[in-house]
């Protein structure tokens, strides 16, 4: 993609994408976040995407920042390049679209010559020479040079840079000063030495006042904290690790009793089998337990997932998806686990799956997942992805949960005495039965949880009737779940014959594409699924459109398959657009892939 997509031609003030190319492990993340926050501080809608390797130090890494006065945040071609990596400088420069601009470290060997772009060469070494920092710290601080140069070239007020540094380093004023000095120095140098020839610039707006800038993993962790998580066993795996990291940051601050005692425990398990095992144990024990993992860990959790379903144990599992199959691309994003997680476990296992698409939903589903798990007495899977989870996104300030904690059908000691207790008896007809927690101080409260066939009293049974009764009830409970999970967001366009169904982080590219296509007169309805199993609104949406296109970030069209199986009568209308290359979708991609399904622009009107 070396040309700017035509539908995006526009005034370049506050409307471009910039990419910083560095090497992994050199600390450029601080500089990149400084830029991101500086734009945000200026009130300009912004979003950052880190495209990093599965490596600790040395391999190429790219940080993309989209600056968009329209508020678009999907990935797109970058016209502004910071080339600070010897290994990629030539390719990076070659890929820059015509008319683009590049800030290049003068110290890099580079034979690419282009006269259709604006190139600014920066003597990083000389500029750093002025400072007296050494070794790793020096490398790390060198990244501030491009912040300073860009500040000048793009017209970022130094006050905004300072504010951004302040947000990053918090109370550590000394760090702010050290970094700021380098920025100012580079800015001063640029001011004297560079002649701006390119059209890219930013100007203050007022579009971020009520917004947050946060990663999905942080939002999910914060939501979990407000959902009352008490037990969090986990095993490290990219890209879910930062969710637990965030949890471990938030919890000590937000979840201690008055005398400073923690009201939670985070356990680094020895593997994912143990992590989910502890979740299941803790859920049985009455705690709100969660874990976070990604594909390989999810695979290892299959057996316990089946136990959780069958023994009806509440618990929350975040799957922050990366690219599979197998170890795949651990630092790339995808939506390839949907089909697998929906039926994770042998036999007729079925799971509730939540599908957040934004930091607001990561937060909301963070707390709501615990309520759902307790209400439905089952494992709830939350399917995020690397792009949503690890990158910084704008979002509206999170709403405090609008209802108290839902603990579901748990009988107290008194209730057991009053009503009696049969663990798996469907008293209310909704498939959800009553449970008791270990430690309930009355006779008759105890039961023996198990993954084997049992009767309504949790007593081992091999009787066919008991099996059918129990599994039919589980199926009934799953029907009940349809009404409990978050509704799909239905955005109908009057008269549109095509509807697009999607979920998760692809929404941004789709929304951008939708706007662009609408301008061209090719509008479509859209439905954003927020959970499985789907509610009736999904059927209604499909029924209301001649053609429904399911767009998703995997190879095999997993959601399309699920919907076709779920609504066989409507299956012929369900088309699939599925693609996975590890990079988040662009609006351009979505447009190209939707075009064949949309009515051609009505030329006869013209």
């Amino acid at each position: 993609m070396t040309t700017t997509p035509s539908h995006l031609e526009r005034d370049v003030t506050n409307d471009f994408s910039l990419v910083v190319a560095t090497a992994n492990g050199t600390g450029s993340q601080t500089a990149n976040l400084t830029l991101l926050r500086a734009f945000f501080h200026m009130g300009i809608p912004v979003h950052g995407k880190n495209i990093f390797p599965s490596n600790i130090q040395g391999l190429p890494t790219w940080y993309h920042i989209r600056v968009s006065k329209h508020g678009y945040v999907a990935r797109r071609t970058s016209e502004v390049l910071v080339a600070f990596n010897q290994r990629t400088v030539e390719a990076d420069l070659r890929e820059l679209p015509s008319g683009g601009m590049a800030v290049v470290d003068m110290g890099l060997a580079c034979s690419v010559e282009r006269d259709d772009i604006h190139v600014y060469r920066v003597p990083v070494k000389t500029l750093m020479g002025a400072s007296d920092h050494k070794g790793k710290l020096r490398d790390y601080l060198a990244n501030m040079i491009y912040v300073g140069v860009l500040a000048y070239l793009l017209d970022i007020p130094l006050a905004s840079v300072e504010a951004a540094l302040g947000a990053q380093f918090g109370s550590k004023r000394k760090l702010v000063d050290t970094n700021l000095a380098l920025v100012q120095n580079a800015h001063a140098w640029a001011q004297t030495e560079l002649v701006k020839t390119d059209p890219f610039r930013v100007a203050p707006m007022d579009a971020t006042r009520d917004l947050l800038l946060m990663s999905g993993n942080e939002a999910g962790a914060l939501g979990s904290v407000f959902g009352g998580v008490t037990v969090a066993p986990w095993y490290p795996i990219t890209p879910s690790t930062s969710l637990i990291d965030a949890l471990r940051d938030f919890l000590p601050e937000l979840r201690r009793s008055e005398d400073g005692v923690p009201t939670y425990t985070v356990i680094q398990a020895e593997d994912e089998l143990a992590a989910i095992g502890m979740v299941v144990g803790a859920g049985f024990g009455g705690a709100r337990a969660m874990t976070a993992t990604s594909g390989p860990g999810l695979s290892l959790m299959a057996e316990f997932a089946g136990l959780g379903y069958f023994a009806e144990i509440p618990g929350v599992v975040w799957d922050v998806q990366r690219v599979g199959p197998s170890t795949g691309l651990p630092t790339r994003t995808g939506q390839g686990d949907l089909g697998f997680v929906y039926g994770l476990g042998h036999g007729d296992t079925k799971h509730v799956v939540l599908l957040p698409s934004s930091i607001e939903e990561c937060f909301e589903f963070g707390w709501r997942s615990f309520d759902l798990a307790d209400q439905l007495q089952t494992l709830v899977f939350v399917l995020s992805d690397l792009d949503l989870g690890m990158n910084n996104w704008m979002g509206r300030a999170f709403s405090y949960p609008d209802e108290p904690l839902q603990r579901g059908k748990v009988l107290s000691a008194d209730e057991v005495l009053d009503q009696g207790f049969a663990r798996y008896l469907d008293v209310d007809g909704d498939g959800i039965t009553y449970r008791t927690l270990p430690g309930t101080e009355v006779p008759g409260a105890a039961y023996f949880a198990r993954g084997t066939g049992h009767d309504a009293y949790a007593v081992y049974s091999e009787r066919s009737e008991d099996w059918v009764e129990n599994t039919d009830r589980l199926a009934r409970k799953f029907e009940t779940a349809r009404g409990y999970v978050p509704r799909a967001v239905d955005e109908r366009v009057d008269g549109a014959s095509v509807g697009v169904i999607a979920f998760g982080s692809t929404r941004y590219a789709i929304e951008e594409a939708r706007d662009a296509l609408a301008i061209e007169g090719r509008a479509f309805s859209s439905l954003r699924l927020r959970a499985l199993p789907c509610g009736e609104e999904v059927r209604r949406f499909i029924e209301a459109h001649e053609r429904v296109v399911v767009i998703e970030m995997n190879r095999d069209g997993q959601l399309a398959s699920i919907l076709r199986a779920e609504y066989p009568d409507l299956a012929p209308r369900v088309a699939s657009v599925a693609y996975l290359d590890g990079m988040p979708f662009t609006a351009d991609f979505v447009m190209r892939r939707l075009e064949p399904f949309l009515a051609p622009v009505a030329l006869e009107v013209a």
Binding site: L212, L213, M214, E218, L222, V225, F226, G228, T230, V231, P233, F250, L254, R255, S257, P262, T263, Y264, T265, I267, E270, D271, L273, A274, G277, M278, V279, V280, G281, A282, G283, F284, G285, G286, A287, A289, F304, L307, A311, W367, A397, F398, Y400, P404, T436, L437, P438, G439, T440, E441, P443, A445, A446, F448, A449, R450, G451, T452, V459, Y460
Partner: protein, 345 residues
């Protein structure tokens, strides 16, 4: 299970029968049944309140047995080899409960070995019983990882792999209570169980428990006959509850050791043949390795050390169990959210 017909009640007003469970569906004569009946007896004698006890197991004949004792206690019959993690989860949810897990040698030593070792590292407080018969009973007699080298069984054939010694494994994993016993030695099993309930962290009891269906031929070191003839207790054991006075018996007092357990109760060790100091970790390991080399069947408390905190202590779990915290402790107030979000604006 031959329950003595007693209607005496203990200090919490319960009779032995109150600690019983469903009728066993295990084979008649299975060692596991006899252990289950000792568990019932011990729970009765210790006056445990059933609702304060949690039971766990994996999958196997052994793992079925929690259904056959303590029917008035909550329990979880988990997955094959996964008792460890399920127990840890449940016991962080409510660390005030007493817990007993029953696993098999296949469950713990084969599929569950990693989880077992890591449970011990964390030292979650529970009694961990391995009903060790050297075979997979429930799947009909294959060798487990503890099967004796050179053993030949009708179904399984010849075992040419060296056994895993779960007591050595426990010691290597820094477990602070490691004992071996024999299902045929009911008294020892009982005294060890009582002491195990007094331990601070995970207490491992590796109990040789003959499988009458698949591994009980006289020449098998896991048979009743072999155990009866070759058991070599390292000491005679007597558990002394916290409240009781210590009565020194007729034997030379120099031959008696008292081990103070973590909850203040004591275990009386009366020397039998040799002197084994259960507080010396290296000695315990060497003694086990020797026994392995010499094919001795030593039983008793092999190692005891209560210096390591339990998981709940190390993690500073609150007085009120996590599962019982009020909603107000679980969800911070709106101001807290506002304050946190400030940082992201």
């Amino acid at each position: 299970m031959d329950r003595p017909r007693t209607i005496a009640s203990n200090s919490v007003g319960l009779s032995r029968a109150d600690y019983g469970g469903n009728p066993s569906s295990l084979c008649k004569g299975c060692g596991h049944n006899s252990i289950a009946s000792q568990i019932i007896q011990v729970a009765f004698e210790l006056s445990l309140r059933p609702f304060e006890v949690l039971k766990f197991s994996g999958i196997g004949c052994s793992s079925k047995s929690p259904a056959y004792f303590l029917g008035a206690s909550h329990g979880f019959n988990a997955l094959h080899g996964r008792m460890s993690s399920v127990a840890q989860g449940a016991l962080v949810a409510n660390h005030r409960l007493r817990a007993i897990g029953v696993s098999g040698d296949g469950d713990t030593g084969s599929i569950g070995l990693g989880g077992f070792k890591h449970l011990l590292r964390r030292n979650t407080r529970m009694v961990y019983v391995i009903e060790n018969n050297g075979v997979y009973g429930l799947t009909k007699g294959q060798f487990s990882a503890t099967a004796d080298e050179g053993l030949e069984l009708k179904y399984a054939g010849l075992n040419d792999l060296p056994p895993i010694d779960l007591c050595q494994e426990a010691i290597a994993a820094e477990c602070g209570f490691v004992a071996r016993s024999f299902a045929g030695d009911a008294k020892q099993v009982r005294e060890l169980l009582k002491a195990a309930f007094s331990h601070r962290g995970t207490a491992v009891l590796d109990i040789i428990s003959p499988c009458v269906a698949f591994n009980n031929q006289d020449d098998s070191p896991k048979s009743y006959a072999y155990g009866r003839h070759h058991e070599r207790p390292l000491h005679e054991l007597g558990y002394i509850p916290l409240a009781d006075e210590i009565v020194i018996g007729e034997t030379d007092p120099g031959e008696l050791t008292l081990v103070e357990l973590h909850d203040g109760s004591r275990l009386k060790l009366r020397k039998v043949e040799e002197s084994h100091d259960p507080t010396d970790r290296e000695a315990a390991m060497v003694r086990l390795m020797q026994a392995e080399r010499r094919q001795e069947f030593i039983t008793g408390l092999l190692f005891y050390d209560a210096s390591r905190p339990s998981y709940a202590e190390a993690a500073r779990l609150p007085e009120t169990p996590l599962s019982m915290l009020p909603d107000s402790a679980l969800r911070p107030p709106p101001e807290a959210l506002e304050r946190t979000l400030q940082r992201y604006r």
